[in-house]
Symmetry: C2
Subunit: 221 residues, 2 copies
Amino acid sequence: MDTRHRILDEALTLFSEKGYANVFVADIAERVGIKAPSLYKHFKNKQAIFDAIIEEMNLRFLEEAGTLRINGADAVRDAEIYRHTSEEQLITLGKNMFLYFLHDDYTRRLRKMLTIEQFHDSKLADAYMKQYVDDPLSYQGMLLGLVVSSGGLQTDNVDIMTLHFYAPIYMLITICDREPKREADALNTLEAHIRQFNRLYARTDEGKTKRRNLSRVVIDG
Amino acid sequence: MDTRHRILDEALTLFSEKGYANVFVADIAERVGIKAPSLYKHFKNKQAIFDAIIEEMNLRFLEEAGTLRINGADAVRDAEIYRHTSEEQLITLGKNMFLYFLHDDYTRRLRKMLTIEQFHDSKLADAYMKQYVDDPLSYQGMLLGLVVSSGGLQTDNVDIMTLHFYAPIYMLITICDREPKREADALNTLEAHIRQFNRLYARTDEGKTKRRNLSRVVIDG
DNA sequence: GTCTATAAGAAGATAGAC
DNA sequence: GTCTATCTTCTTATAGAC
């Protein structure tokens, strides 16, 4: 890795741990193994380092398009997996997806940095929302839509179904970002979540008409 | 409000918008309407201002105990509401809870500040987790447990049921914190979420034995 | 491209008058 | 308790040798 990329790499690490303002140019240089003034041969100033990280992020995000994919690859394969997979396999895939986003070095550091800096620059808030909320919901929603049309699961509202699938995963990731020691617990919860999600929405052998009784109340008051 | 409290108030506002490191003592002083040196008559230094905010937070959190309460008051009343409320009333209550936590000035600013500063100090990460994850899950779980034992809803796993209820609300709050203009959308989603949650778990009139068939698969592969 | 030396400026904090 | 003036320290960034 050349010096320029090592600077970006170490800067991202530090920014994700302390936030931009708490990282000094000398800190980055020290990690790279050079002195601070040498760093200015590679970047105009400190802000340019941050900007370069964001630029690379945008390039990567553009390539990946809909993130939080089940297999991290293409949508067609994901759709097939959803259509033809047993509950046990779906759980394994869900765990792999969860662990990838939690452990992948680049993804993890970037997510933390965006979390810290998001209120400082609305473009970063937008990037956070797109990457961790809107794109995953849209992508998972597309897949779950396929499952619903193939009869694997059943619902009147795919968007809410998708929210029910993804929101717990999102929450478990935010938990483990902050307290990594809870990861084992989170994995168990994730498994129980997917099992229960599957059970709640996969009632194809029960009466469909009763299911449409939308105005049910918890207990009639 | 005396000067000391006005300093804490303006400091919290600024910290929640820019983060501790990006707020200067002179900024806080200016908002209060004094000069920076005068501020040192009230606090030893900048860090002492932050610490005082955290101290007050801990006092308030201790008082409130389990947060994200449906009516913001006591558990007994909340439990009665859960037991005897129609779906429509539950939605109204859910929306009120959501809007309170989104709009309450103190709660909102503190949540944003903790979000920014959580990776800088593990004590802040703990406070965030307790306040926005563990306490709400534990409190809502207690209430939903009551509903389950009274027969209003049905499940084998109250913890996952609680996750299914709360995780979407948590996610909607994080969305609106970043993009307030999405609040109207979020409220509609919240309503649809509670309706669907209620429908999924309130199947008391359908076959209970079939419900226990836990090893169902999406499509047998 | 890397270094040492150093300039330039920002921000936290203090001194002492009122 | 508030002010003006000032000190101190820290951090970014530049100059110029190698």
